[in-house]
Symmetry: C2
Subunit: 362 residues, 2 copies
DNA sequence: CGCACTTCTGGTAACGATACCATATATCCT
DNA sequence: AGGATATATGGTATCGTTACCAGAAGTGCG
């Protein structure tokens, strides 16, 4: 053609077979670790494979065998610490089983989510683990993909399809226990920063907050509850939201003595706002985050938070996936709801003054 | 077989063709947007496609056409903010061109890096963008993959192969300018936290630090230079390393008045250590990070840092990839070295006391 | 009108591997 | 010994799609 190159095709089993003086089928058996291969055949073929640096064509393999040994993972966003933990948990279980992983991200766009799902589906991934945020269109699309029987696990939210499992954390209970922690420290005026009505997990956290107040006979005041400015912002990046929301809270006459934030980043933004106003955490206002992101241990003061054991969610998702792929794919739906864990650090409980909150409340 | 199901195969163009009463070839042309298709044919076929929810088999497509429209991206780690920005930059350029992206991570393991690369290669990705950390074995493996002519771009480090481009930031210059910033504020005793001799970027940063001191006739003291405890730790997660290193620095008699940290996380760990010791940033010790991770704007005080414009690195990588795929794949190597940008925040320069550092130095 | 050219549709072979079948030899058991 | 079984290798068809070729039908033009 125009230049040189272009000629250089990929190697095939036929090339290997010719070079090794055997039949293509024998090469296939060797690279598939088939039991019925003599030792000398195996050695002869592997020698040529290594020598010529041959890599089997996964497209042809998948096409013929109808299995790709690929698990597709669709994440909401790559920077989210959630994502990393989840992937780690999944790989821990499925790597030893010989699976590869192709990760795609939806980047807060429904169109991209669909493009990612479509690409993975069209490449005939053996299964899909989906951890995107819930949207109407997203759900419809997922349902359409699940219909032909593709094994699918949804992580981090409910999903209502008879053949799709889901794995979540009990956000409601996590928030509930966080509030009870604050109450046990003497707080009576507890605010919530970062309400989101579009986000399932966020909503369940908020409900846990409300229910904990109710069950402890504490009043719920809308003055102490603030949502983010940008309702459509993603979960994790709302330090800004936290900052803004807290500023708004602080500008009011009545001030809470403690805050439950929707997540750690919101909490950090809120802490920054509190410090900015000249107040101190936890002496003036105690604060609890949610998610236990790695950095939460390094804020000043270190953040009390709720860990939703995401790595465990990853492991469970992988386990369910394996069940569906290797076992009965049409078995009834499994739902797993994991416990959260309260991590107490110094943003609610100062070493210096054991129970500072008791003297605060406006 | 054992249960029901299992029968349900995927739909094919033949199914669509039969249902629409046309030839399979016509279906192929429609889904490929071929020009020579009548309007009614297109409508007829698309109607059935939508109706039956048909998705073409990318394995078969790729096998026959020898193009997959997939770009493989191999990242060192998924939680790294670097990763997110890079992917964003890449996608910005290549999504409009109709490419899909499969991301894999090496998770600080050479074996996993190779598995990821192998999987992407075997799935015949049209190109590979590799941003893993440099290792001997990793390089060898990459060279072997590049040999058959697979378009490949290496990001974040040099790579010496005539047909592999690379894109990096000028870490040396970034560090150099950071040090000059500190010097311009009056600092004379400037330490470095987080020396790494295994990491290319880290090493170049350290050299920039050394050269800036030398060029400004400042003494280099080994007492002011500390490496991490765990030499093999990854770039980003070393808040611990930063903390430990700073503690060690502070335990000495002679104390620096400013610190350049290897990266933002190390810097945050160091800040935490300084605060922990009862000292203040920037009044007692000024500190500069590296990378401008999103959180660096939210530490207390906000961190002065060096931005290596990673999104731009992503864009450039994508641009080079496109050149190689659509143009002359055998053209000579391109090397791109992007400028860093110093972001001045309050960890070096306090609003309250304009130039506090001037009065500090031991 | 006839020839070149564009537009449109369909058939056939092939991409690179494996499922399945056939066959050959070695091994075992009664 | 002889039939059954395990081991080892090779041949053929096929997975689902597109490259390529063939040809029909419509268009333009001297």
């Amino acid at each position: 053609m125009d230049r040189s190159s272009r000629k250089k095709k990929h190697l095939t089993i036929v090339d290997i077979a010719r070079r090794a003086g055997v039949a293509p089928m024998s090469v296939s058996r060797v690279i598939n670790d088939n039991a019925y291969v003599s030792k000398q055949m195996r050695e002869k073929v592997l020698k040529v494979v290594k020598e010529l640096n041959y890599h089997p064509n996964a497209l042809a393999r998948g096409l013929k065998s109808q299995r790709t040994q690929v698990i597709g993972i669709v994440l909401p966003d790559i920077v989210n610490p959630f994502s990393a933990e989840l992937v780690r948990g999944i790989q821990e279980v499925l790597l030893p089983q010989g699976y590869s992983f192709f990760i795609s991200t939806s980047e807060r766009s429904v169109a991209r989510e669909q493009a990612a799902l479509r690409a993975l589906f069209e490449h005939r991934a053996d299964g899909l683990i989906v951890a995107t945020r819930e949207t109407k269109e997203g759900n419809d699309f997922l349902l359409r993909l699940a219909e032909p029987g593709l094994p699918m696990i949804v992580v981090g939210r409910q999903f209502n399809h008879p053949r799709v499992d889901h794995v979540t954390a009990d956000h409601w209970k996590g928030a509930y226990e966080a509030v009870e922690h604050l109450i046990s420290l003497g707080h009576r005026s507890i605010g919530f920063v970062g309400v989101s009505l579009v986000n399932g997990a966020g909503l369940r956290r908020f409900r846990g907050y409300l229910d904990a107040l109710r069950d402890n006979n504490l009043p719920v005041s809308s003055k102490l509850i603030v949502g983010p400015d940008r309702v459509s912002g993603p979960d994790y990046s709302t330090q800004d939201d936290g900052y803004e929301a807290m500023k708004r809270l602080l500008s009011q006459r009545k001030r809470p003595s403690a805050i439950l934030a929707r997540n750690d980043f919101t909490a950090m933004g809120a802490m920054y706002a509190i410090r900015d106003t000249g107040l101190s955490v936890p002496d003036d206002i105690a604060i609890v985050g949610f998610d236990n992101v790695p950095l939460s241990a390094y804020t000043t003061p270190p953040l009390t938070t709720v860990d939703q054991t995401i790595i465990q969610q990853g492991r469970e998702s992988a386990r369910l996936m394996l069940e569906r792929i290797t076992g009965d794919r049409a078995r009834e739906r499994r739902e797993i709801n994991l416990e959260c864990r309260l991590i107490i650090r110094e943003s609610t409980w100062s070493k210096a003054a054991p129970s500072p909150a008791l003297v605060t409340s406006a």
